[in-house]
């Protein structure tokens, strides 16, 4: 009952209102010259320095869903859930050099989205459209998942009702507020709020990792309790260590997720908003500090086991909602006011990425669908306006996903999202280094990778589901005589690359037109202070850039 959680609800609401106010004030922060421009609304004026970028990108990548789902995975499956740690270690050295090239070429050409880059690099509106749609489709369920994070907290506080509307009203209100200040302040809102979010999360985690082990008998006991639970369970793949069968899955999932992370449009938005190349490099070396946080948060799953937490029932009868274990752990172990602070940390942790993601999706729509196909001569003010409205639509869509569909459906979609965003790797990430791939090859490779990825995900069963039961594909389905599993995304992107390469060789032999590369090698090294080209004027003035494919 919600009355038992009154203190928690009050603390949660107060902190929530505080950041909402900050979100509205953010429009005036760092004095934009002209808010009616996509560079200002959607990229914060491309002016963010080291600290803001750190909080923004960090707040962007480590989301409420991470904080709820990773410990939930540890709670349910054990060691396999820890993949988030190597994943977030590997990602930064992996993209250290790649992202500064993307920043430079985007700075010089005024690119706002990864599809903008692909459009100019490969001279193919079709490929750019595919990249844009992939980005939007992968981002939508990700936003919906942020709502799952908030909902886990609200459920634990007893803020829930019988009817569909009553159950979701708090989420709808929260998202209406979020939509309003994102509309007004653009990327400045999540950038400013990220400070509060991270401060709260750091405080909560520091207190948790010092206080809870002391209360639960020390780390050794916590691991032993988890071990005992997994020993007793019938599932052969859980445990506090990996076994012979899930190691390949663990490694490929960590690596594949790392490859996917900075292909997500919202991560790219965060990176493009930074002031210069140095800011990005410095951030790539400092951001892993969050991984430590993530590792400790993951272990909350084991603390919940040691504390004997029983997850709340799920949406369907007989199921349990493991996403509630962390909120329940806080509720059981902390005084009410501190549990309220912890809940606010999770709730606000959902707002920051949700805002950035909706902005990124809106930018993709505006630049690569609206401007490309609906209104070629859109002015910067019109662009900004379309983006603002699209960001509202995106959020309404995300809320509708949660209200009218089973939240489990969003989780499945997000699983798919990771696999599909990986299929943009050849065009976006490799495209930053080489134009060797033929644009048609990239398109067909995308189709092949996407098709195979979907088929593989469909084949994965879990104890509760026949299809889309996870991302671990059993190798025996490929005819190998082994119980080992592998991450679907890696296989799909390898096939994508192979198809793209093969077709490139064929197309080159047949002398198929390749289009004009709108970038020069020098573009990839431009830094702050470099004269910018306005993309609209450039594209319109140069007839050679008209679409060919």
């Amino acid at each position: 009952m919600w009355r038992d959680h009154l203190t928690e609800i009050i603390v949660f609401s107060l902190l929530f209102l505080l950041v909402s106010a900050m979100g509205f004030v953010a429009a005036r922060w760092r004095r934009p010259k002209d808010m009616a421009h996509l560079d200002e609304w959607g990229l914060g004026g491309r002016s963010f320095g080291g600290w803001i970028t750190w909080f923004l990108v960090g707040g962007d990548l480590y989301t409420a869903y991470t904080f709820v789902a990773v410990p939930a995975l540890m709670f349910g499956a054990g060691a396999a859930g820890f993949f988030a740690v190597p994943y977030t270690i590997v990602v930064y050295p992996l993209v250290f050099l790649v992202l500064i090239r993307l920043w430079s070429v985007s700075h010089r050409h005024g690119f706002v989205t990864p599809a903008d880059f692909v459009r100019t690099r490969f001279d193919s509106p079709v490929l750019a459209l595919l990249i844009a749609i992939t980005g939007i489709v992968a981002t939508m369920p990700y936003i919906a998942l942020q709502l799952v994070g908030i909902e886990a907290v609200l459920k634990t506080m007893g803020v829930t009702g019988e009817s569909t509307v009553a159950r979701h009203l708090p989420i709808i209100i929260a998202f209406a507020i979020l939509a309003a200040y994102t509309y007004q302040s653009g990327l400045r809102a999540p950038a400013l709020i990220a400070f509060v979010k991270d401060s709260l999360i750091y405080v909560v985690i520091l207190v948790t990792v010092i206080y809870l082990p002391y209360k639960l008998g020390g780390w050794g006991d916590i691991f032993d309790a988890a071990d005992a639970k997994f020993q007793a369970s019938p599932n052969p793949n859980d445990g506090i260590l990996l076994n012979g069968n899930n190691q390949l899955q663990y490694v490929t999932l960590a690596f594949g997720s790392a490859l996917a992370l900075f292909l997500y449009p919202h991560s790219i938005t965060g990176v493009l908003a930074s002031r210069n190349r140095d800011v990005i490099k410095r951030n790539m070396s400092a951001l892993p500090a969050y991984s430590l946080l993530l590792g400790l948060i993951a272990l909350l799953g084991y603390m919940a086991i040691a504390a004997g937490v029983k997850p709340l029932p799920g949406a369907s009868a007989g199921s349990v909602d493991n996403n509630t274990v962390v909120p329940l752990l806080f509720d059981q172990q902390f005084p009410d006011w501190f549990a309220g602070v912890a809940y606010a940390a999770i709730g606000i942790g959902a707002l920051v990425p949700a805002a950035i993601m909706s902005i990124a999706a809106a930018n993709l729509f505006t630049r690569n669908i609206y401007k490309e196909y609906l209104k070629r001569d859109a002015s910067p003010a019109q662009e900004a306006n379309v983006s603002k409205i699209t960001s509202l639509v995106v959020k309404v869509g995300a809320v509708a996903c949660i209200v009218f569909l089973d939240p489990q459906f969003s989780i499945d979609l997000q699983l798919i999202g990771g696999v599909i965003i990986l299929q943009t790797l050849p065009a976006v990430a490799l495209g930053l280094y080489t134009r060797w791939f033929h644009r048609t090859g990239l398109i067909v490779g995308w189709v092949a990778g996407m098709g195979l990825g979907m088929w593989m995900l469909y084949q994965v069963a879990s104890p509760t589901k026949k299809h889309f039961g996870g991302s671990a594909f059993p190798l025996e389905k490929f005819g190998f005589d082994t119980p080992k599993t592998i991450y679907v995304g890696i296989v799909a992107v390898l096939v994508n690359l192979a198809v793209a390469a093969l077709l490139t060789l064929i197309l080159r032999a047949t002398k198929a037109p390749e289009g004009v590369d709108g970038t020069t090698p020098d573009d990839y090294f431009a830094d702050e202070g470099d004269p910018r080209v306005t993309p609209g004027a450039e594209r319109d003035a140069d007839p050679a850039r008209e679409p060919v494919a």
């Binding site: 740690v85 270690i89 050794g220 990996l242 490694v251 090698p521």
Partner: protein, 80 residues
């Protein structure tokens, strides 16, 4: 304006701006955390943490120190 070939040798001088032997170090924190043979064990425990957990957390330090070192050694000094 004809588009220059990206692989053309004329690009070598600008290309060198991002080239540094230090960059090879970045492979270390990419490869090492992905070898389960290193970390997939219980003993020795440190502060109650099985090796699986403390060693993977320790690799965060490997990641941070490597990228920081590479950043410091390759960052722009003056006009170079």
């Amino acid at each position: 304006m004809p588009a220059p070939e990206p692989e053309a040798p004329t690009t070598a001088p600008t290309r060198a701006k991002d080239h540094s032997p230090w960059n090879w170090l970045l492979f270390l924190p990419i490869v090492v955390p992905l070898i389960p043979a290193f970390f997939n064990g219980d003993a020795p425990r440190i502060f109650g943490f099985p090796r699986y957990y403390w060693l993977q957390l320790a690799w965060i330090l490997l990641g941070v120190s490597t990228t920081t070192l590479v950043y410091q050694m390759t960052k722009k000094r003056g006009s170079r």
